[in-house]
Subunit: 337 residues, 2 copies
């Protein structure tokens, strides 16, 4: 995906490839100030069973308890909070069938602006209802014949709306980084932090915050085995695409790293480890039965990596980003039946 | 059940019916000091969806995140922490097929003493394994032909062990009260507090703490419709028994209020409301899909009462005790299938 002439949210977006980091620790701290009192300061859970099983003290940052049920609200709200008055008067557009849709819809309501969400016409009823419930206008498309990016851009241009990308935007990245900032403020220094990687926005933000707070912290990305585009890209030294991933971790089905997120992750991430769908299921069941929390597949990959022993030489203390909990009872039964 | 000559845990147990309250607010504060750093200070969750649906700001004290997955650890550990050195050297015995078994087993390990747990021989494998995993000795009985109370007492007398009752003991009650103490310390004054009632220990402790901290707070007990012994007893002015309750809320299947808990609840509880098994299921599903937490049936009754509109004239701010989360995936599917 290359950047066209579409207006993106906020007017101070640096260009990719200019050399200056797209996001700094100060940006994350600014985002935290804007999010205070709006986003939940989510709890950090501990489990002695988990510690005993994995040989590290694990600190689970539970973004499944975030508003809209996922970390996505942080980035979306932060991006929208920085719209100019003119942009706010016109509104925003986003394309997503997942958590980003609800995040932008709710953030728009909170910021007093309007959102148009481009969703596949076969998106789950519950997701459509939730998004519409936040007051967003929903535009549907046929995902077998139509291109959502083109539709999003056309709407942005026709109506003069700012496009809010799901990860490849400095304000979105800085917002996501507040999850790691809060975690480390609460726990103190950690030896490693495990973060799910899809488009790489959560990781880029968290790595920016965590490495500033704890020099030497190991930043470990986690991808589903079928969607290892970031691991391959890091190995290749440039962004490579993989076939559209077939995985239960639908929130991590990106086929290529972001243009802005990749250089940050290239600089700050130590390694990327992979988990299978079965390992994700095991982690979801462990979360249910032992931790008493509901975690969606993409939200469970960092925990899955820890449980599956993917963290080599575990440090004394490890942070684990549990990134979302949006899964209906029916789908949950289907996956863990 | 009347008290025989069996030794119960701790030596300063007041007799029922002497007029002095069996448990004071100072007892709860003492318990909190003993539990500090041992029990989890469980999170208090909020949900705007829940608030919008119920017309009150709800504060959910999540004891499903407590050690052993339920509030029971508070009372069990507190009781065991107050054993005399002689009692500790001998050990304790408890009868339970549920959360109290695991709570006493873990508390015994933490206190450096031994526990014998009397369990039905058909208790779920997971519960037996968990209890044994904490190092307890398990004695099984046939629940169709044998009396667990008699077995527990015989073991206590033969081996000189202290019996740790599940609710009818001042140290147990004071320990359970720390849940409300923590909640109100975090939230400030509440207009009402909804608490599940089985034997009445959690309610007696919580009412002792909450009414001391917030004079005028409405203490609302919640029972499953089929097990309304406390509601009937309060109406009658004395303890009455109901037929053994048939309800999915197995943790609240008491058929009569406790001898010590009842006078406390008679003095401090404003009313008891009832919920059906279907309302409990709805609350469990709401907890899963909207709150992202796993709650067992008896843990969900206070939330069920709030969702079902049982709280008349809701105050601005309401506390809700979510008392436990011990339910396996299989049973969960069975109940919500």
């Amino acid at each position: 995906m290359t950047e066209g002439p579409t207006r993106t949210a906020g007017s101070d977006r640096p260009e990719a490839g200019t050399g200056a980091p797209a996001v700094t620790f100060d940006d994350v701290r600014d985002a935290a100030r804007r999010l205070a009192g709006v986003a939940h300061r989510t709890p950090v859970l501990r489990s002695r069973t988990l510690d005993a099983r994995t040989g590290t003290q694990a600190f689970l940052k539970c973004e499944n308890f975030q508003r809209v049920g996922a970390f996505k609200f942080r980035g979306a709200y932060h991006a929208l909070s920085r719209l100019t008055p003119e942009e706010r008067a016109r509104g925003v557009v986003a394309y997503s069938s997942g958590n980003h849709a609800q995040a932008v819809a709710l953030a728009a309501r909170e910021c007093g602006t309007r959102a148009v969400i481009v969703m596949p016409e076969d998106a789950p009823r519950a997701k459509r209802d939730a998004t519409a419930g936040y007051g967003a206008e929903i535009v549907t498309y046929d995902r077998y014949t139509q291109d959502r990016v083109a539709i999003g851009r056309r709407i942005a241009q026709e109506r003069g709306l700012a496009l809010v990308p799901p990860y490849d935007h400095p304000h979105v990245i800085a917002g996501q980084g507040t999850a790691a900032l809060e975690l480390i403020e609460e726990t103190g220094p950690l030896g490693a932090l495990l973060v799910p990687v899809g488009g790489g926005g959560l990781m880029a933000g968290c790595a920016t915050a965590a490495t500033a707070l704890v020099p030497g912290i190991r930043m470990i990305g986690v991808e589903p085995e079928a969607g290892d585009d970031t691991r391959r890209s890091l190995a290749a030294g440039h962004r490579v695409a993989v076939p559209v991933p077939r995985t239960i971790a639908d929130g991590q089905a990106a086929d290529t790293p972001g243009e802005l997120t990749f250089p940050i992750n290239q600089r700050l991430v130590d390694s990327v480890v992979l988990v299978t769908d079965d390992e994700i299921r095991t982690a979801m069941a462990f979360a249910f039965e032992r931790l008493k929390i509901v975690v969606e597949p993409s939200g469970a990959t960092a925990l899955a990596a820890l449980l599956a022993g993917r963290l080599a030489a575990p440090p004394a203390r490890t942070g684990v980003l549990v990134s979302g909990g949006n899964i209906g009872l029916e789908r949950f039964r289907e996956l863990l039946g």
